[in-house]
């Protein structure tokens, strides 16, 4: 491979000023870029932990009988920790990492509104994660990530369950502080002249997410407070035998956790809008529709919680919640159609980022359709607590959120590190992940409809064939993750310099060096009036000016295919 013989002026300049050492990332700092990377690396670590746990779950489920674990309790601990870690320590903080890194840059700001609070919110996460894992030495939590009482109160003896609740409490506080920081930043730190409707769609997504975080997470905090009191102080909030109410938890928990599933996916929507538009060189179709539908989802998301409780709820309440749940498919559908409209007729470059974005688009639709199926009461009563549900939420959380995270990683890695990621490895990673993902989770639909309950270690022998397919695919999926982890590190050593704007994108985070200097921009950056105005003469001139200022957008050493992509950059999609 070619080496960089003559460093480009812009790149050389930044290397002197912003060379960060590895140790800088392990220290308390208020720089949002370092905090963003800290979030991302921490969550990637927990992604591996959560992944390892589920590999054990799938190993156990290869056969209908117990083999890997000795008893049901151990199995319960495995999937409880898998779910909790993946949600609270991987997807939510990973998106917070993207938000932290990108929101100030996209707004042309020097930092978040409250840099100190930002650092504080991050540093709550590692101790909470450690506390949760330490539960293994005190009788780990085993009531599932939903932690329904009385399972989590009367039938969970170990202190791990209490530690679990405290850890979630801390993570919730971290989320709230991070969320209000985002809202204030978006409201007050926009560059002069940038209206809300000129913001990149990722910012809209982070804004909608943060509103949910600030408004919904305290419900969980309230519920957890009562749960901890039940476990520690001997109260009986959730024990009907002593005057408590067992449904109280389910209502409070889902009043948080249904909005929270949108916390876990709306930032992915934002990433998708950026990646699809940039890599198909076409303006986003229906900018306002995408921006506002996030807010609609955030709002309607608060009215659907009881669809998780169709089997425990008063029957008369089922229909209203069925209707609201189905209504929420409308704003989501608006997004999907807008994205298809965005890439339709575009100059699509199948970079790794784009492939993962397209993967999201296809797989998330399946998850959305099974979601509408589950919203229908008669169908839900049939498949409640079966593998159909497991399949549904993995299609939206893995096929949605995780693929969006991958798309984001490939898209912004050049900005964050200053180096290109290896595209060939990226494509290998995509295809293995995509296929293995499908064969891991699609057969679960069948298992669920055939009646296999979730959260069991022992199952009826006739389910073994499908379970073996699922497990083997899951192992491949697990291994495929190491390709991207390897790529992330390998590309750092390979040092293929990226240049300030390798994708020739129009949003502001690209209008500075890669990685950006300590104060993000040289002087005050000028934003382009339409963040997705690809293909216009004005966009072409804007990028030309940018090159004059910062040096070539991308280095001559880029792979031919990627280079072609960048060259084709400002051409209108139609020509």
């Amino acid at each position: 491979m070619a080496t960089v013989t003559a460093p480009l002026p812009g790149i050389q300049a930044h290397e002197e000023k912003t060379k960060l050492r590895i140790s800088d990332y392990f220290k308390w700092t208020v720089d949002h870029k370092i905090i963003g990377v800290q979030y991302m690396v921490t969550s990637l670590f927990f992604f591996i932990v959560g992944g390892a746990l589920v590999m054990m779950v799938r190993w156990e489920l290869l056969t209908p009988t117990l083999d890997l674990v000795q008893n049901g309790t151990q199995f319960n601990q495995l999937f409880t920790m898998h779910g909790t870690i993946m949600i609270f320590l991987w997807i939510i903080p990973m998106f917070a990492g993207f938000g932290n890194y990108l929101v100030p840059l996209m707004l042309g700001a020097k930092d978040m509104a409250f840099p100190w609070l930002n650092a504080f919110a991050f540093w709550l996460i590692p101790p909470a994660g450690v506390l949760m894992i330490l539960g293994y030495f005190a009788g780990q939590a085993q009531a599932g990530w939903t932690s329904y009482p009385p399972l989590s109160t009367l039938f969970s003896d170990g202190d791990g369950q209490t530690m679990w609740a405290i850890a979630i409490h801390i993570l919730g506080l971290s989320s709230i502080l991070g969320g209000l920081n985002f809202i204030v930043t978006v409201r007050n730190m926009r560059p002069e002249g940038m209206s809300y409707f000129q913001m990149p769609l990722l910012i809209w997504a982070i804004l909608a997410t943060s509103i949910i975080v600030v408004m919904a997470t305290p419900f969980l905090a309230g519920g957890l407070t009562l749960l901890i009191l039940d476990r520690v102080a001997g109260t009986a909030f959730f024990n009907p035998a002593e005057g408590g109410d067992v449904l109280l938890w389910q209502n409070v928990f889902w009043f948080y956790s249904h909005p929270a599933v949108y916390i876990m996916v709306i930032p992915g929507f934002g990433i998708l809008s950026e990646v699809l538009s940039t890599h198909s060189r076409k303006s986003v179709f229906g900018y306002r529709a995408i921006a506002l539908s996030s807010l609609v989802i955030a709002l309607v998301g608060f009215t659907v919680w009881a669809h998780h409780m169709f089997t425990s709820l008063m029957p008369s309440l089922r229909i209203p919640f069925m209707l609201t749940s189905m209504i929420i498919a409308v704003p989501t559908g608006i997004k999907i159609f807008s994205w298809i409209g965005t890439i339709w007729g575009g100059k699509i470059r199948l970079t790794s980022a784009m492939l993962f974005a397209l993967g999201f688009l296809s797989m998330f639709v399946i998850g959305g359709i099974s979601g509408v199926m589950l919203a229908a009461v008669p169908f839900d009563l049939h498949v409640h607590d079966t593998y159909f549900v497991v399949s549904h939420f993995h299609f939206v959380l893995y096929g949605g959120s995780v693929l969006a995270i991958y798309a984001g990683l490939y898209h912004w890695y050049p900005k964050i590190t200053g180096y290109m990621m290896d595209e060939r490895l990226g494509k290998i990673h995509f295809w293995i992940t995509y296929v293995a993902f499908f064969f891991t989770f699609f057969p679960m639909h069948l298992l669920g409809m055939l009646g296999m309950p979730r959260r069991v270690a022992v199952y009826a022998p006739e389910f073994q064939t499908l379970n073996t397919i699922v497990s083997v695919s899951a192992f491949v999926l697990g291994i495929s993750t190491f390709i991207v982890l390897f790529n992330l590190v390998y590309s750092l050593y390979k040092k293929r310099v990226a240049g300030p704007n390798p994708w020739r994108a129009l949003t502001l985070e690209w209008a500075t060096d890669s990685p950006p200097p300590a104060h993000n921009f040289h002087g005050d950056p000028v934003f382009f009036s339409n963040p997705y105005g690809y293909g216009t003469e004005a966009a072409y001139r804007y990028l030309e000016e940018q090159e004059k200022e910062l040096g070539p957008s991308y280095p001559k050493t880029m792979e031919p295919s990627t280079q072609a992509m960048a060259h084709a950059a400002p051409a209108p999609a139609g020509d």
Binding site: L177, L229, G523, G533, E545
Partner: protein
């Protein structure tokens, strides 16, 4: 579509007095807005705890009346008055610093902290009395729903007292002035919030 050039602006040149003032105004606005968002999330946290009481209260009115008759509301009324007075002290403190009187600020915020501390102390006395009558957190349907929200509120008061002392400490170092008192104002938002929550708790738990 007119802005297509990237102006090479020197970051230091932009730092004149005007932009400093603007920057400070923006920062103050951010702090206040951030505090309001935080308080909004606190409202929701207390909503869960108060709703837990209210939903149960609807079906157990008799039991609540018995508790009310057995305990009376004298002590808690005194306590409520103290907390209201502390909010008044808070307002006076902010007014003093707006008049650039740091000494007045220290006195009034000190009084705020003192009244808050007495409130917590009397709450402890009340808890002891109730416990002696058999209303504990673990043995009474009323008890658990009573202690959870009031103790959560008490924790907020304790945090507020510590914050008030921190404000006093800053004031003694001369950190605040008539132009720069956002730190006091933010604390004031929090303290008034804690006060309002108490009025709600007092009404819902003791009076209804």
């Amino acid at each position: 579509m007119t802005d297509v050039s990237i102006k090479p602006v020197d970051a230091h040149a932009a730092h004149d007095a005007h932009s400093d003032a603007k920057h400070e105004a923006q920062r103050n606005d951010s702090l206040k807005f951030g505090m309001w968002l935080f308080l909004a999330s606190e409202v929701i946290l207390f909503t869960v705890l108060i709703a837990t009481f209210l939903v149960w209260r609807v079906n157990n009115g008799e039991l609540v009346h018995q508790v009310h008759e057995a305990t009376g509301v004298f002590l808690v009324s005194v306590n409520t008055f103290l907390l209201l007075a502390s909010s008044f002290a808070m307002v006076m403190g902010l007014r003093q610093i707006q008049l650039n009187n740091t000494g007045g600020l220290i006195k009034w915020i000190g009084l705020t902290a003192l009244l808050g501390a007495i409130f917590v102390g009397l709450q402890g006395v009340e808890y002891t009395i109730l416990s002696n009558e058999g209303i504990t957190i673990y043995s009474s349907e009323f008890g658990m729903r009573f202690y959870a929200p009031t103790a959560m509120h008490g924790a907020h008061v304790i945090f507020g007292v510590i914050w008030a002392l921190y404000v006093v400490m800053n004031a003694r170092r001369g950190k605040y002035s008539s132009k720069n008192n956002i730190g006091v104002e933010i604390f004031g938002l929090y303290w008034h919030f804690v006060d309002v929550v108490w009025i709600l708790l007092f009404t819902v738990i003791y009076l209804l």
